[in-house]
C-alpha cells in the first residue's frame, strides 16, 4: 500500500465513521448494534451505495454486528440509506427503464425473492412456519406465535373479503398455498392460485391436496379464459412492480373479476412517491431493479377508474415480529436443514430478513392492505380490523 492510498483509506474511514455515528453506531463498539469492520473496502463500497453497498458488503463478510436488525433500524431512523440514493441513482434508474422490458402484468406479481438466489423448498421449509407456510406479513393482534399470526392474517383477509361458500377466488402469488388452503378449508371457496416457480408449485399442491384449490405456474397470460372471479387476493405481490406495470397489473385483475368483485391487495409501501424500493433488495434479491414500493398516491392513481378503495389498513409494524420469527427459525435451521448451505447465501437471507425487520421497526416502510371494489359494495363495506 502506498502512502497515498493509505491517506485515501484513512479519509474514507473517517467519513464512514462520521456517517455511522449520526445513527449512533460506533465501529468497534460493544453495544449490540455497533459494528465490526473486517475489511476496509466497507468504507468505500459499503457506505456509498445506500443499502446496495451495505447488503453486498455484509454478504461478503466485510462487516458484522451482533444485532443486525438493531443496526439497520438505526440506519433507517437516521435515514442514512436514503442519502446516496438521491440524484445520481434516480438518474440511473431512469436510464435503466429504457432497457428494461415490461415484466408483464402477472409475472411481476408472482416473481418472488427466488429470482436470483435460488430460494426454494429448503428456504421455505426452514424459515416459514410449518403450520401455515405463510410468506407475507403476519397479523399479530391477539397472536403470540408466528403460526397464530399467519392464521390471523389469513382470517383477516377472509373477513375483509366476506368470503362465502362456493365463491371463486383468484390468488395471484399464492406462494406455498397457505392462504389458498385456509380459505378453501374454512370458508368453502374455490381457489385458483398462481405461483412463481416449481418449488412453490410443488409445496402448494402438497398443502392443498384434497381441497378445492387449483395451483398453476404463473405466465404472461394470467388465468386465460378464466374470468368472473368473485374475489381476488394478492398478498405481498404489489411491491414487485415497475411503476407502469402496477397499472397493468391492477387492470388485469379488474378484467378477471366479475361485476361485484372485490380485490384485496397487500403490498409493502413507501412514504414517498417515486422512492423506488430498497436498491439491494431490488437488485440482488428480487432481481428487478425497477421495482418499487408504491406510495399511497401511486397506488391510488393506479386504481383510478378501475376500482374504488373501500379501505386502507396499514400494519407495517407487524412485519417486525414476523421477520424476527422467520430469522429465529433461519438461525435454528443453520445446524439442521441448512447445515450444508453456502455461507454467502445464508448471509444474504439473514440480511434480507433482519435488514427489512429494522426498516419496518423504524416505520420507514408501510404494509398496506387495500380492499378494492370493482363496483362499490352496495350498503357499504364494514370496517374489519
Amino acid at each position: 500500500m502506498t502512502a497515498g492510498e493509505a491517506v485515501v483509506i484513512e479519509n474514507l474511514e473517517r467519513r464512514g465513521r462520521a456517517i455511522l455515528s449520526e445513527a449512533g453506531i460506533t465501529v468497534g463498539g460493544d453495544r449490540p448494534w455497533d459494528i465490526a469492520v473486517a475489511d476496509h473496502r466497507f468504507y468505500a463500497g459499503g457506505l456509498s451505495g445506500g443499502s446496495l453497498g451495505l447488503g453486498a458488503a455484509y454478504v461478503d463478510g466485510w462487516w458484522d454486528c451482533d444485532a443486525l436488525d438493531q443496526t439497520m433500524e438505526r440506519l433507517a431512523r437516521a435515514r442514512i440509506c436514503d442519502g446516496p440514493r438521491k440524484a445520481h441513482n434516480r438518474l440511473l434508474s431512469r436510464l435503466r427503464r429504457f432497457r428494461s422490458k415490461p415484466q408483464g402484468a402477472w409475472r411481476g406479481a408472482t416473481a418472488g425473492i427466488e429470482r436470483r438466489h435460488g430460494i426454494g423448498a429448503d428456504f421455505y421449509r426452514a424459515v416459514l412456519d410449518p403450520a401455515t407456510m405463510g410468506f407475507s406479513c403476519g397479523y399479530w393482534r391477539k397472536a403470540n406465535s408466528l403460526d397464530q399470526a399467519q392464521a390471523n392474517k389469513f382470517d383477516l383477509v377472509c373477513r375483509k373479503l366476506g368470503l362465502q361458500p362456493g365463491q371463486r377466488v383468484l390468488e395471484i402469488g399464492a406462494g406455498c398455498g397457505g392462504f389458498a388452503a385456509h380459505a378453501a378449508r374454512h370458508h368453502g371457496v374455490s381457489v385458483h392460485g398462481i405461483v412463481a416457480n416449481s418449488a412453490q408449485l410443488e409445496l402448494a399442491r402438497e398443502r392443498c391436496g384434497g381441497l378445492d384449490v387449483e395451483v398453476v405456474l404463473g405466465d404472461e397470460a394470467g388465468p386465460a379464459g378464466r374470468e368472473n372471479f368473485d374475489r381476488a387476493v394478492c398478498l405481498g405481490g404489489g411491491q414487485h412492480f415497475a411503476p407502469s406495470d402496477l397499472t397493468r397489473f391492477v387492470c388485469a385483475v379488474h378484467g378477471a373479476l366479475g361485476d361485484d368483485g372485490l380485490f384485496l391487495l397487500e403490498t409493502v409501501g413507501s412514504k414517498r412517491s417515486g422512492a423506488g424500493a430498497d436498491p439491494w433488495f431490488a437488485e440482488h434479491v428480487v432481481g428487478l431493479p425497477d421495482m418499487r414500493f408504491p406510495s399511497v398516491a401511486e397506488l391510488g392513481r393506479a386504481i383510478e377508474g378501475l376500482f374504488v378503495a373501500e379501505d386502507w389498513h396499514n400494519f407495517g409494524a407487524d412485519y417486525d415480529p414476523t421477520l424476527g420469527a422467520w430469522n429465529a427459525r433461519l438461525e435454528a435451521a443453520r445446524d439442521g436443514v441448512l447445515a450444508g448451505c453456502d455461507e454467502r447465501l445464508y448471509r444474504t437471507w439473514q440480511f434480507l430478513l433482519l435488514g427489512s425487520q429494522g426498516a419496518f421497526r423504524a416505520r420507514a416502510l408501510d404494509l398496506w392492505q387495500v380492499v378494492l371494489a370493482r363496483k362499490p359494495v352496495e350498503g357499504g363495506w364494514r370496517l374489519v380490523r
Binding site: R272, S295, A297, E304, D311, W312, N314, A317, D318, R363
Partner: protein, 396 residues
C-alpha cells in the same frame, strides 16, 4: 322545438328506467315544459334550478338521482349541433361554473368580488332544525346507531379514539363548525380545544354553546394560524373540501407546523374516485360557492402529505352519509311549515334538491367519505386505536 327536447329527455331518462309523468315514486312529474330544455342545457344545474322553480317534482328524488347516476346519463347525451346551439343561451351566463379553473382564476383576479364560502352563514336556526342536538354537520357513523344523535356521537367518539386523546391535550380543530367536536372532546376526554372557522355565524353560536368549557373559537382562516408546535392533536372534519387543490401543500404545512413532534391529525373529507375533477356546477353555484371548493382524490390527498405526515390509516365510510342526510332532511320535513314561513318555498326546494342529490351520490357510492389518520412521526409499534378491540359484527 319543445318536442325535440322532450323526446331526448324521455329517451335518456328511460336508460335509468325513469318515466316522465309515470306513476312510480322515482318518475319525474313535469309541470312546465321548459324543464326539458333546461335539463339538457345545464345538466344537474338545470335539474336543480328547474326544481327550485317548481317546474318538476319527484316523490322519491333520491331514488331518481341514483337511477340517473347509475345509467351514466350525463355521458350519454348525444352532443349534436342543434343541442349545443339550443343550450348556449343558458350555458353562456353560467360558463364559469362549467369550465374547470375559470372561477378560481376569476376569483384570483378579483372578478367575483365576494368569493368566500357563504354556505355556513345561511341561518343558524335552519341548521339547528337540520342537524342533531350537537350540531355535527358531518357524516355520522351508523354501524351501531339507531338515531341521528347516536350516529353523530359515535363518529365523534371514533375520532377521539383515533386521536388517542388524553386529559390536558391541546387540540386544534380546523373548521370547527358549531363546536360539536370540541364540546364532545372536552366533555369526554378533558382536553382543551382551539377551533377556527371563517363563518361569523358559527363562531357566534359555537362560542355560546361552548360557554364555560375550555374551548376557544377563533374567526380565522387556516392560512393565518401561526402557532408553532402548540397542539398535541389536530382534527379537521369536513373542511378540507373548501381548501382547493392549489392550497393543499399550504394547508398540510400549517397543520404540520402547528403540531408537536409526536402529533396526530385526523382528516375527514368527502372524496372523489378519480383525480382532477372539479366541483359539480350546480353545487358550486348554490351550495359550496367558494371557487376553491372541490373534492380530492386519494392520490391528491396522499401526495399532499408526503414528506410531512405518515399515513397510519384510511377508513372509507361513505355508505354512512346517505342515512345521515336522510335524517337531516327528515328533520327539516318535520318543521316544514316553519321553514316555509321563515325562509320561503324556493329556499326549501333548493335544500331539498341539494340534500337529496347528495343522498343519491352517496347511496350510489359515487362520492367517498374518508377519515385519514396522519402522524407527524410514525407511531412506534404501529397505530392501534382502542376502539379496534371492539369486534365488529361478523365480516361485512
Amino acid at each position: 322545438m319543445a318536442d325535440f327536447y322532450e323526446k331526448l329527455v324521455t329517451d335518456l331518462f328511460a336508460l335509468g328506467d325513469v318515466r316522465i309523468n309515470g306513476d312510480r315514486p322515482w318518475d319525474a312529474q313535469v309541470h312546465d315544459r321548459r324543464f326539458f330544455r333546461k335539463a339538457l342545457s345545464l345538466g344537474t344545474m338545470g335539474l336543480g334550478e328547474a326544481y327550485v322553480d317548481g317546474w318538476w317534482d319527484c316523490p322519491a328524488l333520491e331514488e331518481f338521482g341514483v337511477r340517473i347516476l347509475n345509467a351514466d346519463v350525463r355521458h350519454k347525451v348525444p352532443i349534436t349541433p342543434r343541442l349545443v346551439l339550443g343550450a348556449l343561451p343558458q350555458l353562456l351566463p353560467n360558463l364559469h361554473y362549467f369550465v374547470p379553473g375559470l372561477r378560481e382564476a376569476a376569483a384570483r383576479l378579483g372578478f367575483l368580488g365576494d368569493a368566500v364560502e357563504r354556505h355556513y352563514n345561511i341561518g343558524n336556526d335552519f341548521y339547528q332544525v337540520l342537524l342533531d342536538k350537537r350540531m355535527t354537520y358531518t357524516c355520522g357513523y351508523w354501524p351501531e346507531a339507531e338515531t341521528l344523535d347516536e350516529a353523530g356521537e359515535a363518529k365523534l367518539e371514533m375520532v377521539c379514539c383515533k386521536l388517542g386523546l388524553k386529559p390536558g391535550h391541546r387540540v386544534l380543530d380546523i373548521g370547527c363548525g358549531w363546536a360539536s367536536f370540541a364540546r364532545y372532546a372536552v366533555e369526554h376526554y378533558g382536553v382543551t380545544v382551539t377551533g377556527i372557522t371563517i363563518s361569523e355565524e358559527q363562531r357566534r353560536l359555537g362560542t355560546e354553546l361552548a360557554a364555560g368549557l375550555p374551548i376557544e373559537i377563533r374567526l380565522q382562516d387556516y392560512r393565518d394560524v401561526t402557532d408553532k408546535g402548540a397542539f398535541d392533536r389536530a382534527v379537521s372534519l369536513g373542511m378540507f373540501e373548501h381548501v382547493g387543490r392549489r392550497n393543499y401543500p399550504a394547508y398540510m404545512r400549517m397543520v404540520h407546523d402547528a403540531l408537536t413532534p409526536d402529533g396526530l391529525f385526523v382528516l375527514e373529507t368527502i372524496g372523489e374516485n378519480v383525480s382532477g375533477t372539479h366541483c359539480n356546477p350546480w353545487f358550486s353555484k348554490y351550495v359550496f360557492n367558494s371557487p376553491a371548493s372541490v373534492f380530492p382524490s386519494t392520490a391528491e390527498v396522499s401526495r399532499s402529505v408526503e414528506g410531512l405526515f405518515a399515513i397510519e390509516d384510511w377508513q372509507n365510510f361513505s355508505y354512512d352519509y346517505a342515512p345521515t342526510i336522510e335524517h337531516w332532511w327528515a328533520n327539516v320535513e318535520a318543521e316544514r311549515d316553519w321553514v316555509l314561513e321563515t325562509y320561503g318555498e324556493r329556499f326549501y326546494r333548493l335544500w331539498e334538491f341539494c340534500f337529496k342529490s347528495c343522498i343519491s351520490s352517496f347511496r350510489g357510492r359515487y362520492s367517498q367519505m374518508w377519515q385519514i389518520v396522519l402522524a407527524k412521526q410514525p407511531v412506534e409499534g404501529g397505530f392501534h386505536p382502542d376502539y379496534w378491540d371492539v369486534e365488529p359484527d361478523d365480516g361485512r
